[in-house]
């Protein structure tokens, strides 16, 4: 979620060129394997970001959901997701985790990607989502409508943040075009709100909990205002792998679905696993609101984000979402 989109798309485009030229020399051991019937397990490397959203894959790996499908999964949590899309395209990663808007924009620029499994979704409950727009305790801003003319920080300009915050403002009856957006990293936002450098901030967990702990008020659940249970992120692979090894992709999807369901049904285990790949304070981990981990690709949500991306001119024309679907 942190990667700025132009960087991802640009990098991905170059990655495509590089792989097309046959350089890069990334001969990963994994995906070519036959795997299916008792042979050596397929080595699968998944590019993720060390955030709450990817807890299910860590939990699923620990629970052996991948192993029993003959997949030896390992996660590479490169800082800032900029490396994930190029990594998948060039074959360093067999799968990756990315927010949907970034995948839509990359695909519309011709980067050959396919969504294979759900990642995480908004809970769909206003005020009880894993993300929201926060203001200082004594701020005059009471609702999303008051954001008109104010400065709101988001993690990446021209991505899911500004798109959805504008929806909140529109829904509340304010002028969405008068909101000023500035780019800040999520970790810096609680401090920026506290010191009045921005009027409001769109934050995700664990920073939502951290902001609330410092007394900030949540004035809008922008994801909820955009679409019920908006699917924020998904796991994806390269078109090449989807074609050359459909069996592996299918097994990965199954394992992912089992992991998502398990994490959703065992929230305490999901909170515990955070300690294995993040440094989130256990006190915060206990408090935070996890996203909704449901299975299956939410086509309506995808359609909606594709339409919004076109509306906001992130893509030249609305992407036909079939291109991203398996």
């Amino acid at each position: 979620m942190r990667a700025s989109f132009p960087a991802v798309a640009g990098a991905a485009a170059v990655a495509v060129l590089l792989t097309a030229c046959g350089s890069g020399g990334s001969s990963s051991p994994g995906p070519g394997g036959t795997g299916q019937a008792g042979g050596a397990a397929d080595q699968v490397k998944v590019g993720v970001i060390p955030i709450v959203d990817v807890a299910p894959i860590y939990l699923g790996a620990k629970k052996g959901f991948f192993e029993k499908r003959n997949i030896k999964v390992s996660m590479d949590s490169g800082q800032g997701g900029a490396a994930v899309v190029p990594g998948v395209v060039s074959g360093q990663f067999q799968f990756g985790f990315s927010n949907v808007t970034s995948l839509i924009t990359a695909r519309s620029k011709g980067v050959p990607l396919k969504i294979v499994a759900a990642g995480n979704s908004s809970t769909g409950e206003d005020g009880k989502d894993f993300s929201g727009v926060v203001v200082k305790a004594d701020s005059p801003i009471r609702s999303a409508k008051d954001l008109a003319g104010k400065t709101v920080s988001i993690n990446t300009l021209k991505n899911i943040g500004d798109t959805t915050v504008r929806q909140s403002v529109k829904k509340a009856g304010g002028d969405p075009d008068s909101v000023k957006f500035v780019e800040l990293a999520f970790p810096d936002m609680p401090a920026a709100v506290e010191e009045g450098r921005v009027d409001a901030a769109w934050v995700v967990e664990p920073f939502l909990t951290i902001a609330k702990q410092q007394g900030d008020r949540v004035i809008a659940s922008n994801l909820v205002d955009t679409f019920p249970k908006l699917q924020i992120s998904t796991y994806f692979t390269s078109e090449q792998l989807a074609k050359s090894n459909p069996g592996l992709v299918k097994r990965f999807t199954e394992a992912m679905d089992e992991s998502l369901t398990y994490a959703q049904e065992h929230p305490d285990e999901a909170r515990d696993i955070l300690g294995s790949y993040t440094k989130i304070d256990p006190a915060v981990a206990k408090e935070l609101t996890p996203p909704l981990w449901e299975t299956g690709i939410n086509k309506d949500s995808l359609e909606m984000l594709a339409a919004l991306a076109a509306e906001e001119k992130l893509t030249d024309q609305k992407l036909d979402i079939k291109q991203l679907l398996p």
Partner: protein
Amino acid sequence: MMTTATTIESGERPTGSTPQRRTERHVPAGVLGALGLLTLVVVLELVPRVGLVDERFLPPFSSMVSALAQEAGTSTFWAALGATLTGWAIGLTIALVAGVVLGIVIGSIPVVRAATSSTIEFLRPIPSVALIPLAVLLWGTDMKSTLVLVIYATFWQVLLQVLYGVRDVDPVARETARSYRFSPLTTVRTVTWPTALPYVMTGFRLGAAVALILEITGELVIGTPGLGKEIGVAQSSGAVPQMYALVIVTGLIGVVVNLIARWGERRALRWHPSIRAEVG
């Protein structure tokens, strides 16, 4: 660049003629250094406590230390420390060897030197960090990505010093070697190398620091394994004391690296007048 040899013993300028006399007249440098460090610690502890900055964003020094103690109890921390030091050592070694070999070859052959100088001057100022996108595309978050940055940045430090060192060779000595029909290898060993060595050591010392900076930068920005990555994870987890604790560790590594580099320099140049003068 004639100053290079003298900068070796920068730091302590010999004010008195013997160490004993110095301690009588002044407070020893070690004590002053410790005092400075103590002041910093006190300031770091007090500034958040007094409320000059928010404790949540800059925790007091004591909570950084307890976070560090907590980190030190995890295997992740030691693995990260190991990865950082390994990357640093490999990168520095490759850059050092490549810089010395190429420096001597280029520096010893005037034609090559003239032909390459503009290219070197063009490539040298390119910040290593600017190569990150390229490294990520080629090697992803593999350790190699950061290694390339480290080597690139360090190589130029060493190469330039070696080139200056080779240029510093006494022409009479060089002509003498030629008159006696020394083989190129013998010339390098007996004439070029001793002259260039102080410069090589300066390059080593500068390179050691630069390599560490780039190692941490690469880990932080690209996400290759190491302390830099852990700092990034702490940051994106909102674990502020842990983040500062890891930053302190990188600082400590820097101090140790510098001490080792200076010690290496002294040992290698025991015979050199700049070092001998200090002792005598």
